[in-house]
Assembly symmetry: C2
Homo-oligomer: 422 residues x 2
């Protein structure tokens, strides 16, 4: 049952590392037909139970649950995202948390395979007909989790609270949390179904602290691998570390033998809900917008010349002697070169929650940065951006969280087991 991939051989999904998805699908699907080079269009066939047999390309695409790393980090960000943070119930401790992570892992594994989870409650059926649709579920632990579960001795030093930044306007009710789940899928109902199923499993053990919804371009809206745009209209993600970079693993994931040991293969997620002052932004002339960023809006090319993928030349001067990329341009101030090599993998969702009471759109970026150590990734870069980024005028950081995201679960294991039963 080989199907034609709908478009270019390089697939319809936005650009980003795709190796894991392909290999993973091949592993999970065994001898199933795998369209090589068709990232995101791989034809994972039915596993134990029977997902619908007539799924289309988007629905059929499947990311494996098991692996060295959790899913939802290196795969391209999906069209729909849900972020949800929980606090443990007052009477829940380490034992209850372990049982919850076991239930969550089992549910996530079933959902990501397009199967109906064997829940304590019957299934809602919302995701029927649509297959896994590239669903990923990622679990994280916040700093407060360790105190509540008597695990302070195992708390990573990297979970020290983020320092305050001068431009912060953070809402504590939408920040932090004991536990965090990131859900992504290319179908809105598949994503919502997963959110409800996972939330139900938490009943009695943890309650929702906050929840946010995000989105990205739909698969098939653009051809070929395309870097996503954000709601300012910028191509956003170009200079992310690439899975093919020699130092990619080292930058994004905690190495085996790191500290604490249970975080081997894990990563730290920094989440910032950043509202965009779109009324101001959209009134700003195009040339000024491009100067603020340091890249062209139409195609993402650096103002130092070339195309989207041309390396940024921070020294380049225009004929008039001015720096081609201004001193306060976002890409200069955030670049690894100007931050002692500090790098992170940005994998964000846009958000839009209608209009605020003041008439401005409540819209912006659910900025998510992944790194082996936030003190060598997000923190130094944000410290610099906070002081000198031309973009600051147009954005407000409104919520913040930092989570320790353990390595992926092996077969028969649940996420966080090495911490909770270590």
């Amino acid at each position: 049952m080989t199907k034609h991939h709908p478009d270019t051989p390089s697939g319809e999904r936005p650009t980003g590392p795709s190796r894991r998805r392909l290999l993973g699908t091949a592993g999970a699907a065994g001898a199933a037909g795998l369209v090589l080079g068709a990232a995101g269009g791989a034809l994972g066939t039915a596993a134990a139970t029977e997902p619908p047999t007539d799924l289309a390309t988007v629905g059929r695409s499947r990311v494996p649950f098991h692996g060295a790393h959790q899913p939802g980090i290196v795969e391209p960000a999906q069209a729909h995202g849900h972020l949800i943070a929980f606090d443990l119930a007052a009477d829940a401790g380490r034992k209850e948390a372990a049982a919850l992570l076991r239930r969550w892992s089992r549910t996530a594994e079933a959902l990501m395979a397009g199967e109906t989870p064997s829940s304590r409650l019957h299934d809602t059926g919302i995701a029927l007909d649509a297959g896994p649709s590239s669903l990923t579920v990622t679990f994280g632990f916040g700093r407060s989790f360790f105190g509540r579960t008597g695990l302070v001795a195992h708390r990573p030093a990297a979970l020290e609270p983020l320092p305050p930044f001068s431009s912060d306007a953070l809402d504590p009710r939408r920040s932090d949390g004991d536990l965090w789940i990131q859900i992504g899928a290319d179908d809105a109902l598949v994503a919502f179904h997963a959110l409800r199923a996972l939330q139900r499993e938490a009943d009695g053990t943890a309650r929702v602290r906050w929840q946010m919804n995000g989105f990205n371009r739909s698969p098939g809206a653009t051809a070929g691998p395309r870097t996503p745009r954000n709601l300012m209209g910028q191509i956003d993600g170009t200079n992310n570390p690439k899975e093919t970079d020699e130092d990619f693993e080292r930058r994004v994931f905690v190495p085996a033998g790191g500290d604490p040991a249970w975080m081997a293969g894990g990563s730290y997620a920094v989440l910032r809900r950043i509202r965009m002052l779109l009324d101001d932004w959209e009134r700003t002339p195009l040339a000024e917008q491009e100067k603020v960023l340091g890249r062209r809006k139409s195609d993402g090319a650096p103002l130092s010349g070339g195309s989207e993928t041309t390396p940024v030349d921070l020294e380049k001067r225009n004929a008039d002697g001015d720096l081609a990329i201004a001193a306060d341009a976002h890409v200069r101030v955030s670049a690894p070169e100007t931050n002692g090599g500090a790098a992170m993998l940005r994998r964000s969702f846009s958000y839009h929650d209608g209009f605020r009471d003041d008439g401005a759109p409540d819209a912006g970026l659910l900025f998510i940065a992944w790194q082996a150590d936030p003190l060598k990734g997000f923190v130094p870069v944000q410290r610099k951006l906070d002081r000198g980024d031309a973009l600051s005028r147009f954005i407000r950081h409104e919520a913040s969280a930092l989570f320790a995201v353990p390595g992926g679960a092996g077969e028969g294991e649940y996420v966080g087991q090495r911490l909770l039963e270590g």
Copy 2:
């Protein structure tokens, strides 16, 4: 550059009338290649200006702006929807409203063709790379519009306020409005781009009264034409009037020679923001859920037997003598047969705005019903549902609006011109 349609010959879009989209696309694209039978996958080529040439299937799909009816009524509901209502500024009257509708129509036409609108302001660029993505823009007038513009004499009788219903819990700040725009697109950034562009055109003439976001399944998540599911997990839309029905036009659109004359080819949209009490619903056993509706959840088949498309048999009794479809089942109480033939075209979006302060999900249906006369469509049916629908226990009507949606603009005309210059 013929491309293979990603999946079945019947296309990837959810079921629903597609004739207009196909014919429309063929018309708009002239001699362009048209994949027959591939609803929503038709390859509309570039019009006057130059949209990107390498769009994928979803991005390329285009709905014509001009026609007897406005777009966004008979086409399948898209993956993303924005509803936005405006009130005219205190100093704006008929003249300013006419200028606004002219600007809006010009902008909508450009956006739906995948072109950059020639706005008073420069374009945000958010939709670049993605083509029209089945964008539709639909304009409507609320009852209050006619008083503010001195057009009360032309106000349709059908715009009488909807009667109150016993189960209403309506929020006036999210109800009604002078003007309404419905935006739908299969890409989130294309939809958001249109929202911003149209809102900017209103600056100084009208201000946002309320705005809501909705969604449906992504194209490609399911194969073939598939009726959408809602957030209760039900297949929703099966027994909608079909464009092929002999009385479809008469039920949905105001005929030529109707009253008022300027509404010829138009329709009335009833919008109800209906929250679902999902915690209660999901605790209800499957058999009980199915009894509440009168259809099976898995495949949408009526409880009187057959498959999704089998006509509902309201007389059928089970072996035990009970009615197969309960006396208070939603499909019985809402069926045209039990409402003197009252029918409407339901074309809804799901919504999910996170969690409420009480911990319940703020999620449900942006129910939109289209009909030639609300007094022969929505009103009698809702009156009956209000008293006797088993579903009532699980839903709350939280906002309501009724709009007169004029016929489509001819070439060189703007939407509403026959009213505003009549």
